[in-house]
């Protein structure tokens, strides 16, 4: 059985239409939900979600992702081949960070009309992305989808900046615990601080530790999350709510040393 994953901002109900269409085409597809709770139209959060899990999936997996505020306008549908996995979704950057994580990427504009259902103007997940994903999972040659392109829309999730001892980044995802995940990668934070030191994070002093249970219940800390990025958390608490930090907010980080924050 070949795995097809789904990543959307649909909430409930609409994912079932994608699953039905996939199973009509390939009844051996093993459909796995990555998430359907991306904040509506938040392409960066969707890109992060897919990026954070893609490396754990088996070779041959097909990822269908739909966070698609431009549905029915001129944005193109695309498919990508990278590192033995496949991606299908809108040309708005959503798929790029995950695909790049697997290696060299080949991006195709979806043009083969034989693969599509009767296309509506509001639900390309059902009418384009799900069927193309299903055909790929069934063994269709990748090149059958359309034509190679180079002018796809790009997103870079790792564009935090380091300047001297100070890092400027931003929040890319708030998880369901309220953990605040930034775009500051592990290697960057380890250039300015070691575990056990205090950091000044957007004006608040926080210890930089290895795991949640190393501070008291409710206390705030920063750590390198399981996805490899700097994460601001509260032990058994909701850091986003406690600190009032939301998706897309800017974050600055510097070592504290003997100064005040």
């Amino acid at each position: 059985m070949v795995v097809i994953t789904l990543t959307t901002d649909f909430g409930s109900l609409y994912p079932a239409a994608l699953k039905a269409v996939i199973l009509q085409i390939n009844d051996k597809a093993n459909i796995i939900d990555i998430t359907h709770s991306i904040p509506p139209a938040d392409i960066r959060a969707g890109a992060f979600a897919l990026y954070s899990v893609v490396e754990y999936f088996p070779r041959g997996t097909v990822h269908v992702a739909v966070v698609d505020p431009g549905v029915g306008t001129r944005r193109r549908p695309i498919a990508i081949s990278a590192g033995g996995q496949y991606f299908v979704g809108p040309d708005n950057g959503l798929l790029i960070p995950a695909a790049r994580r697997l290696g060299e990427i080949e991006v195709y504009d979806i043009r083969n009309e034989k693969l599509l259902r009767n296309v509506s103007s509001t639900f390309h997940g059902r009418d384009i992305f799900a069927p193309v994903g299903a055909y790929l999972s069934g063994g269709m040659q990748f090149k059958e989808v359309g034509n190679k392109i180079d002018d796809f829309v790009d997103i870079d999730l790792e564009k935090a900046e380091i300047c001297g001892n100070k890092i400027k980044g931003e929040v890319v995802f708030i998880d369901d615990f309220g953990n605040i995940i930034t775009n500051i990668p592990q290697e960057m934070i380890l250039k300015i601080a070691n575990h056990g030191e205090d950091l000044c994070v957007s004006g608040d002093k926080m210890p930089f530790l290895r795991t949640y249970g190393m501070v008291g219940i409710g206390d705030v800390l920063v750590l390198i999350g399981s996805h490899g990025f700097l994460e601001i958390s509260a032990n058994q608490g909701n850091a986003s709510r406690v600190l009032g930090i939301e998706n897309r907010d800017k974050v600055t980080v510097k070592p504290l040393g003997k100064r005040k924050c």
Copy 2:
């Protein structure tokens, strides 16, 4: 593998009991969640959810649906055969619109006690509907479930009325984007308006367009949704919250022409 779908108002946890019971009877069942987020006891919303996706499922699919405020009272458990698919659930109208969408329906009262678990008075999903669905998915003859009936409870989701140029309908579903889905079918709205015109919708002027991205971010529009019904939406916004329109509210629609709304 035969597909069994689940549509309930259970939220989390209880669906797992249904899945366990199904897999004990038929370990080859491919269980697909349609939704478990129907507003509690809202039979019409459940009927709409199932109706909106049923046509995309493969022949042979068994749909188990449980929105069942009458559990443990005298309402009957029923099973339906329609267009090569099967439906199992309470006799309260929940299954009817979806089954009718597939063609002629045959409705049976579930009477065969060999198919049931030890029946509790509060959880017929686990004790009646899941096991009957599992046996059907395993190849049991449909007639084995019980006796044919004609006096089942009926629901009509498409009973919007048109009077001259004015349509009176109601809201049947609010999706997780906040899109407001009415019971006004595509054919009815196209009798009074063309795409590109303005409509007067319950006192507010709204453009009738083909897709969300044709208005500014946050702006309201009406369109024919992917389910074939008139939908009131806000581009990248939550129309239900913005307009204060909720499930079951009445909706009137008329062409605007040169008059005020």
Copy 3:
């Protein structure tokens, strides 16, 4: 196909990492979500969820459960064999009530490093529990996981007390309908009351009935829930919200007779 279940407080996204890791090891695993909506770090609620459904799963099922506020500290990872099913998770009591429900339990400390991924300090679900569960589902001998232990952390969900005619218990779970599930088992309540009588529940008079629809819409009742415990409910309403009763609250129950509540 062998069933692997998942029970976590992860919400969305992180469960997908577990699924990916499982499918990399055993692509024939049939992954079933029990719930990912356990209140964060609420080990008792997680234990109840697993306990309430475990008996319906087929022999051979592997349950991976992760409610794990102590991740990355010294708490041990464990695996349990009981009644032909397997359990994998943290040594904090989470797995014990479910395993005991199936019979005699054998508890092992997970020590076999060949079974683990590169272990992070924040995500043992992905790095320890999912891979061990996947290997067990693929037919690995249970004893391969590590060493037998007896000093595991224990939880008893059924420790309500009866004293004369009065029962003292507590709330273990609020379901998504707002039903309040207590730790008072069926046998205990039937010692002090019969169906049809009124009870005094934490100071409020409530009828003890067989199902929801036996009172008016919105009215409160108590019944023996589908899980076998005393449940406080409101017909088509949210009892937790109406009564202001929350998880972990104490509950007292006594028969009313001719007295006031």
